[in-house]
């Protein structure tokens, strides 16, 4: 990929490209639209003596809505960005923006801007995929006076290969705490076992899992596999707030197991209004994503019991 670096060197050697005039002079309407979009009602941006918000500087040299003519205006940097896209680095994400304000900009200022490439770094491995960091500098001028400068850096990356359909299942957004104390429980759920922690010394069952037996204080632990039946000891119907990955309402119950411990889980496969205390339930394993299986509880039909 040295040709990209060669191109970058060539673009950088061209230095500051032509000073391109802004589409229109700095004006109150653009300032009003921008501050309203941000939600900034500061009076300093309104009326006779209005100034432009400093962080708005880049807006004055954006192309506007005429995309076709915008594409005809090119700076040397565009050659490098296009070459990166053609080389497969089609993804783009901004990573840094540094503004320096030499003076504030006011309505009536007729600005020009000039862009120069300052750095191309890569290829680098990133969380998004392999890519190049491109850094450039923009200077805005009012006549010959520089009013502001910007260093902008973005990552052009090669998006990861599309995964096979089985891998495309989105991860369930809520992750339970999985650690050395609880790993056995979640491994059990994945393999269709309801595992309850058991003291390695006195044999008492406990749930939720923890590092220490509350009866004999032993740190020795093992587990027992529960029968997978229980009765609703208590429950709530959750309507609000919304929970990621879930449709409301749903039922969260404390289920009492015949083994003597209680466990929290959802009651599913029946209307929320049908759930009642004392209702017999049986565990059902719901595969949430590739890594997570949640034990849930379904009503035991009377004719079965």
């Amino acid at each position: 990929m040295t040709d990209l670096h060669a191109l970058a060197a060539k673009v950088a050697a061209e230095g500051e490209g032509p000073r391109l005039p802004a589409a229109s002079p700095v004006d109150q309407t653009m300032i009003r639209h921008w501050t309203e979009a941000i939600g900034d009602a500061n009076p300093r941006y309104r009326g006779q003596d209005a100034i432009a918000p400093p962080a708005m500087i880049q807006v004055w040299s954006m192309y506007g809505l005429d995309r076709a003519s915008a594409r005809r205006i090119r700076v040397p940097l565009d050659d490098l960005l296009d070459a990166l896209t053609e080389a497969g680095y089609t993804g783009v994400v901004a990573t840094n923006c540094e503004h320096t304000y030499h003076r504030h900009v006011v309505p009536g200022d007729e600005l020009t801007s000039a862009t120069r490439l300052t750095d191309l770094a890569g290829p680098k491995k990133t969380a998004l995929g392999d890519g190049y960091f491109v850094t450039w500098n923009v200077t805005w001028y009012a006549q010959d006076e520089p009013v502001a400068e910007m260093i902008f850096r973005l990552l052009k990356f090669r998006p990861r290969e599309k995964r096979s359909p089985s891998e495309e299942r989105k991860p369930y957004p809520l992750r339970p705490a999985q650690n050395r104390d609880t790993a056995f429980f979640w491994e059990g759920a994945r393999s269709g076992e309801l595992r309850i922690q058991k003291c390695g010394d006195c044999g008492e069952l406990r749930h939720p899992p923890g590092p220490l037996c509350p009866s004999c204080r032993s740190t020795e632990r093992t587990y027992a596999v529960a029968a997978g039946t229980g009765v609703v000891y208590s429950y709530v119907v959750h309507h609000n707030p919304p929970v990621p990955g879930r449709e409301t309402p749903f039922v969260v119950a404390v289920v009492e197991l015949p083994e003597g411990v209680r466990i929290v889980g959802n009651v599913v496969d029946c209307a929320a209004a049908e759930v009642e205390i004392g209702m017999p339930v049986r565990v059902a394993y719901h595969v949430m994503d590739d890594e997570l299986t949640l034990p849930m509880w379904t009503p035991v039909q009377h004719r079965e019991s």
């Binding site: 653009m30 979009a37 500061n42 962080a55 540094e98």
Partner: protein, 129 residues
Amino acid sequence: MTQVTRVVVTDLKRTQIVMYAGASGDYNPLHTDEPYATEIAGNPTVMAHGMLTMGLAGRVLTDWFGHENILRYRARFKAPVWPGDTLTVTANVTSMAEGRAEIALVAVNAAGTAVLTGTATALVTGETE
């Protein structure tokens, strides 16, 4: 006063992202086109412009020090900002010399993840003490 904490946006709406696209002239489909953002770019949804976050966070500086007094404002876009996000900005004066304040700021989402970190330099006039 050496620290300011402020919620700069609550439950960011897609509409505000569209508004910012219009106001800034940045219509990149990552910010404006849900099918493109999800199916082609592989993102969970449309992403807020980094410059929108920078503008939102910048209000803390301009309201605090006065618009004409901001000399420099640097931002790192640390994590994406999505619709529904609530952003809280905390700005700290880290040093003060020769009438200039150096400020560090961070914007975090509701999960406490820093989405933007930055620094700024501001002229300090009597009124901003």
